[in-house]
């Protein structure tokens, strides 16, 4: 029980720290038109999410470029597919395993 409390406290502290230091201030351009040193997240070429197409694009123009995720799974090549498929597979298994509790006909 105490170990679980410590774990929860550590998680909460980490979230607060992440919120506080989510991004260091963007460096001011030294000359008009010069880009900040931070590299913005590259938008997807086709079928971008609204996150990329709207949120990130507007934020970049306003001087708040999105930072890369702390754990950059996108750079892991095919492992990224593995992570997506595993996550989707586990979610699908859990939904399917318990489907009949709400949507299955009651067994006689």
């Amino acid at each position: 029980m105490r170990a679980r409390s410590k774990l929860i406290a550590a998680l909460l502290a980490a979230l607060l720290c992440a919120a506080a230091v989510g991004q260091e201030p963007a460096p001011a351009p030294s000359a008009p038109g010069e880009q900040p040193a931070r590299q913005p997240v590259e938008p997807a070429q086709r079928f971008p999410g609204m996150d990329q197409g709207v949120n990130v694009a507007l934020a970049e123009r306003a001087g708040l470029p999105a930072r890369k995720p702390y754990i950059d799974v996108e750079s892991l090549g095919d492992l990224w597919n593995l992570i997506l498929l595993t996550g989707g597979g586990i979610a699908g298994f859990v939904i399917g395993r318990n489907w009949d509790q709400i949507w299955g006909r009651r067994k006689a």
Partner: protein
Amino acid sequence: MLLPAPAFAMHIAEGIIVGWPALAYTLVALVLMAVGSRGISAFYREHPERKPLIGMGAAIIFFLSLIPIPAFTGTTSHPCGTPLVAILLGPRIAIALTGISLILQAAFFAHGGFGTWGANLVALGFCGSVVGWGVFWLARRAGFSILVAGFAGGLIGDIAVYAFSGLALAIALTNAPSAQYGFGSYLSLIYAAYAPTQVPIAIGEMLITGFALRHALRQRPDVLSDLRVWGANARA
């Protein structure tokens, strides 16, 4: 090049909301998580035989809020799942499950962020759950069928999520170092950009929620009655 790019929708990416606003959202979200955890404990006490539904609710939110669905506008967005889970299990539980899903998505799926976890939880968890659940109950009390009430809850809940996301983003952009517009202009711009993609997705969420609830009522009316969703003991 053929790998699908991680393109998500409602989740505000890491680094867009920073500093005190991010801290404030996180604190609010932690309070919501505490309330939600108590809701889960109460659910376990009331329905010990239905514990697996909590896992299923988490899986529904996790999956639906992770899947990018292409819209005819050439962009993608995703449904929320929180209105459906809130109607079935209660808004407090849906909020807590959303918080857990968002942490997993930020950690392993490049989806949202830890610094924006609070803002995303308030949008997806609080707004989606409370508004979706509230509209469902209002429609139920007004005498509509479970299908229509589910349609209303899913549609308005989904729109509420994106309305709050746009609002949070507009506030952040207005206070950004190189803000180009005022708050009203940013808000109009964001809503105008969201609408063409999100309205079809919201209609999809409306259909999923309504038909899922109607199917549950046809198959397991005893469960919906036990969960106080529909029937004589429904919360109203």
